[in-house]
């Protein structure tokens, strides 16, 4: 089965992409993912704050206690190049780009339009084929209105897109008043692709210690409904590539997203749960499904059930919601 797919102008051997996760820090895992049929890989994110904080910490550590005491004017060898985790990230990009024939997509996570644009250039130089820009912040400043927030997204996307030649995909969350319009604005700002949706970091509170605890749960198939909806709405209405992420557990989930109009389908949680070889299950499952319906490629089904193509587009809209609620109540 020919699973060839185009995403962000890149040729992929399959529409299933291994999304950013700790698994992707290991070159052997990346090779295995490729062997199992992954079309591309997104490397783990570097956070804007991480770049800044590491620089600050290193500055503090190297200089702490230095030039203070006559016998010890420093505490570390002076000329050692102290690289940051971010340089590991660049090294990983370089190594991955050399080791793999599938495209390597680098991920950046930030909220401002300064400081880390340089880093995006470094990513380009390291051999990444695309950048996935993960814009996420909680507008806890209550004086920020919705337009301000949207403008911030647009500015970040514009800054990074104009700094690099690479195609930039933007991964966003669903919480905009008009996600479709927002998507359009991002594309105007330079995004070549949209990744739907980001799963937010939603902190928990530990009642025993009265501390905020970080909490990220793996996604499940149920959570794919929201991205499925918006992929369906946007498919055919944007020139940007669409990547679906969240809740891809099985080949059926892949098929659903493709039917809704995704160019590629990304998976993380399933790989973390079942191991990198699960990629083979997804790819083979997709091939088997296509074959069983006598489709010859993913292109044959892409967007077949999007907002434009289905007979009853209201299924994506409010009418459907009402019906579902009524049906549920009547059960």
């Amino acid at each position: 089965m020919d699973l060839t797919t185009s995403y962000l102008g890149l040729e992929l051997t399959s529409p299933i992409v291994a999304s950013a996760s700790p698994l992707n820090r290991d070159i052997d895992n990346l090779k295995r993912l490729e062997e199992c049929g992954a079309g591309a890989v997104v490397l783990p994110s570097v956070f804007e704050e991480q770049i800044e904080r590491e620089e600050e910490i290193l500055d503090m550590l190297i200089d702490r206690g230095a030039e203070s005491f006559g016998e010890a004017l420093s505490y570390f060898p002076a000329q050692t190049a102290y690289a940051f985790d971010t340089s590991h990230h660049l090294t990983l990009i370089e190594k991955a780009a050399q080791a793999l024939s599938m495209p390597v997509i680098a991920s950046l996570n930030g909220v401002t339009d300064s400081g880390w644009v340089d880093y995006a250039r470094d990513i380009e130089a390291a051999g990444a084929k695309a950048i996935e820009l993960n814009v996420f912040f909680v507008p806890s400043d209550l004086t920020l209105n919705g337009r301000d927030v949207e403008a911030r997204y647009v500015d970040v996307v514009h800054s990074v897109s104009s700094a690099v030649e690479l195609p930039v995909a933007v991964k966003i969350g669903p919480y905009f008043s008009s996600p479709g319009h927002m998507a359009g604005e991002l594309v105007k700002a330079g995004a070549k692709g949209l990744v739907l949706f980001n799963r937010f970091y939603e902190p928990d509170i530990d009642p025993a210690t009265l501390t905020i605890t970080p909490s990220i749960e793996l996604s499940n198939s149920y959570e794919m409904r929201l991205p499925l909806l918006w992929i369906g709405v946007l498919s055919g209405q944007t020139k940007a590539s669409l990547a679906a992420t969240t809740g891809v557990e099985s080949a059926d989930d892949v098929v659903k997203y493709l039917l809704a109009g995704a160019d590629v389908v990304m998976t993380t949680s399933a790989l973390l749960r079942h191991g990198v070889d699960h990629m083979r299950t997804l790819v083979d499952g997709l091939g088997a499904w296509l074959a069983s319906r006598e489709f010859s490629s993913p292109a044959d089904i892409r967007g077949r059930m999007n907002h434009r193509n289905i007979a009853n587009p209201e299924a994506y809209e409010r009418a459907n919601y009402i019906r579902v609620l009524q049906d549920f109540a009547g059960r």
Partner: protein, 1199 residues
Amino acid sequence: MADAAAVQATIDGNAAVAHIAYRVNEVCAIYPITPSSPMAELADEWTAKGITNIWGNIPVIQEMQSEGGAAGALHGSLQAGALTTTFTASQGLLLMLPNMFKIAGELTPAVFHVAARSVATQALSIFGDHSDVMAIRPTGFAMLASNSVQEAHDMALIAQAATLKARVPFVHFFDGFRTSHEVNTVTLVPDAAIRAMIEDDDVIAHRGRALNPEHPFVRGTAQNPDVFFQGREAANRFHAATPGIVAEAMEKFAGLTGRQYRLFDYFGAADAERVIVAMGSGVEVVRQTVEDLNAHGEKIGLVAVRLFRPFSAEHLLAALPASCKAVAVLDRTKEPGASGEPLYLDVVSVVADAVARGTRATMPRIVGGRYGLSSKDFDPAQVKAVFDELKKAEPRNGFTVGINDDVTFTSLEVDANYTTEPDDVVRAVFYGLGADGTVGANKNSVKIIAEDSGRYAQGYFVYDSHKSGAQTVSHLRFGPNPIRSPYLIRSANFVACHQFHFLEKTDVLRLAAPGATFLLNSPYGPDEVWDHLPRSVQQEIISRKLKFHVIDATTAAREVGLKNRTNTILQTCFFALSGVLPRDEAIDAIKQAIAKSYGRKGKRVVEQNWAAVDGALARLHEVIVPASATSDFERPPIVPLSAPDFVRRVTARMMEGLGDEIAVSAMPVDGTFPSGTAAWEKRNVAEEVPVWRQDLCIQCGQCGFVCPHSVIRAKYYDEAQLDGAPEAFKSAPVNARGYPGAHFSLQFYVEDCTGCGLCVETCPAQSPAEPGIKAINMEDKAGLVDRERENIAFFEGLPINDRSRVDFANVRGVQFLEPLFEFSGACAGCGETPYVKLLSQLFGDRLMVANATGCSSIYGGNLPVTPWTKNAEGRGPAWSNSLFEDNAEFGLGFRLAADKHLGLARDLLRQLATEIGEDLAAAILDAPQIRESEIRVQRERVAALKTKLLALKSNMAAEHLLSVVDHLVRRSIWIVGGDGWAYDIGYGGLDHVLATGRNVNILVMDTEVYSNTGGQASKATPLGAIAKFAAAGKRTARKDLALQAIAYGNVYVAQVAMGANPQQTLQAFREAEAWEGPSLILAYSHCIAHGYDLRKGLSQQDKAVASGYWPLLRYDPAMRDIGEAPFRLDSPRPTLPFKDYAYNELRYSALAASRPEDAAMLLTQAQEAIRDKYRSYEEFAQMETGPTPSEVMGAARKL
């Protein structure tokens, strides 16, 4: 012919020397010692970077376990034919002595580069004089002196060229700190000229003389009375030829570089009547003075000694003008009991011999004098005083200059107003904190200015004796001509005070010249600042007509995210105000320097600093100085009037930075100082201090246990004693059973606190209702000080808890034991001092401490103050530092004397039992002295005994017993030091002391590096960590000292980490002390050289244990003796990957960044070693009688 392409560099003396030494050698055998360590560090770093010598190969750098070891390795390497060098100073050079006799006796060419430093006598000193190099005179080494940074660079090469030709080894020396650490403009010798100076024929000849089985011979025989003497004289012609060879090398060097040197250089009037002979950096000071005084009509001169050994009479006589009637020979050393210092005696004998032989017509009057010991500043005013003395009919011989000797009246009067500073030199003095980056920025400024063509610059930096909150004073000169002024600035035309609070402690305007510019970093703007200045500061500004500017650099730095790093902002202001360079040019240069200095830390740091520079000048304001002083407050006295006399007369002067003015009569004659003077030095270095929430406190004692500076004190007392307590005094009912009506207080000594936060981190008591609030929380200190002073005064009035009623067995109880080690100058958050303090709490009133040189001897005994203190009864730790290498032996000596005198006391007591009373004598002789209550009772008996003995007048036995009677109270003898001592330089002694079976306790505070000298690798440094001397990562595992000691079978051994298990630490200390044989405690000590925020030091210790890297263990032979398993593993199986511990620290993560593959391999090895080690330990723990020595050593070998 000078090389037109010669490159200028702005470097210090150490770098200038290392640059040459590295290029002309194949092997460097190294060991750290201040102030020479940077030479070895540079060599190691250059090797790691693959830099080659002039033959295109990378020299081999080998760190040794001591300077003695370095000399041995060097000797061997030379005998095997390699060009070999070393770098050292002071005691280090002395440890090389035996090998130096050998190396010279065997006519082996080599150069030892020595940053000359005082040898420890009545005290250790890290600073410079010639006492070390003078001690090696009989070795047969040639001795070549450098007088400046440029000369140190040049003479390093001349020495190397000469030694290869002469076969006589050389010590090339230059003044420690004054030259080794002075930053100055140096014209580098181009590699081609270095190449031309070193003749390959000489190198090949050296190799040809090497030991070689292809054509074997024997060198190093034992000789007998028949031939030894003749053999000793057989090499005479080589020594005799050496001056000529050095002179030729100097000529050749002049041809290559244009810089002409002579064995004895003469400067001054051709018909001079008065001449000074000097050597080292003082030469430049004399030269400057000679030029100035001759310009004013004097006829004086200077003979600068370069080749001190072999001492060439011919060359000296040629240099000394025939017109000269009076000569003063200056020695930077002291030889008590001699008829003069060494250089003086050489000059006298040469001139006298010439006169006697008739080759010189008249005998000038020759006097000798001492100057500049331990880097005592030596300036033109002192030189003038010497020349003035020579005018006298009877000039003093054996004089001193630069001090006030009011005891034996050797010192010359000095006119402090005399100066030779030219008008075209900008002289700037900067007062900063170690932490604010002032020195770093000033080093950059020196480079910026010196790299501007036609300008020269000099920087010299004075550090105080503390490792936390240290004050730095930078002395910078800039001018159109080379700066040859190796002395501190006396009259500055620019003074900057980078910390506002210094105005209350230091007379920062003392050095301001009339009309000088004064820049103050001030939280108050130009309109408010005046009212916040002490009256005397206002008066100085007015009377000296200073141009006064302020900037709020602290706020500016914080606004751009630089926290307290105000350096680049203040540097920009300096350039703007001083006008040394055009403003725009200066700002561009600062930015370039920032990019160079901070580039390795990342773009953001660079950009923040650039932003700071751009914003600086907008905040700089001139202050309109009122016509008269208006302040109604003055700088407070440095210590209160209630302080003891010695503290007020001596200690306080040193604390004020006026120690130079202390007269000889005020100084102890034998280096003995009173204990406990740190309590008078309220340093106020913390911005945030801990504040107690008594309502949340569970009174567990952990905060006080871990506090590195002993600023947390606990007492319990009867509630009624709260009468009259200040309103803000905090108290809570004791929360343990058995103390009805008792109250508990924790008191924080906020003025002594360094704000490290370890107490907050360790506090286990969280508020159940307030997120993030514990029973101790850090708060802004401003506003708390007055309140806490009152609280402390009240707290100190509460009775000290009776030691015999305190439960020593748990951490909670220990908090009530008074620390007798307090307020040291150790780093904020130090990992060592909590152990030292614990020692003082548990055994302090009967404790003797032998302290190895290193961090613990510096924070424990570096003047001005002493943190080891005494209790209200006047008892406390008796502390001494001998050397670095001999500490175990030194402490064993304490034990030998104590055992001897205890035996003597017991014998005399038996002898006098009838007079004293049989019951008392028997009670004393048979007393158990394990529990504190038993010791308390014994003290009472001994007190009674003393009373009776005093009554037995004219009984010699009673007199003798009185002199040793204190030994009847059990003494606790502890040998304390770091891993550099225990694992490396002192290991042989430590091993021997353990093997004696004597009752000594050894505490090794293991930071896994030489912390005091800046983080060089020791044998305790772990696999995979970087350190100085292991810049490419350490490739061997740390030595398992615990297992080595366990193998003896009769040594109590414990491995502890307070942050992981304070209770186990406490137990180990008590068991070690109770064991009647030798004991060894290895205490994990987090350190600034590990590279992480030390506030997390305790949790990092916990991770070290949880990862299995640092298993907690105790091996107690007493257990075996009662049939229990002696080896106990006190920590559970590893629960954390080694990586999760190690990679929190820069020393490990830096290698992962710079050499990821190597780091990954070493990480795997380290993890495997942990697994194997733990397995062995578990096996040992299961053995009923413990492991046998062979089992232990087998395991140690495997690891």
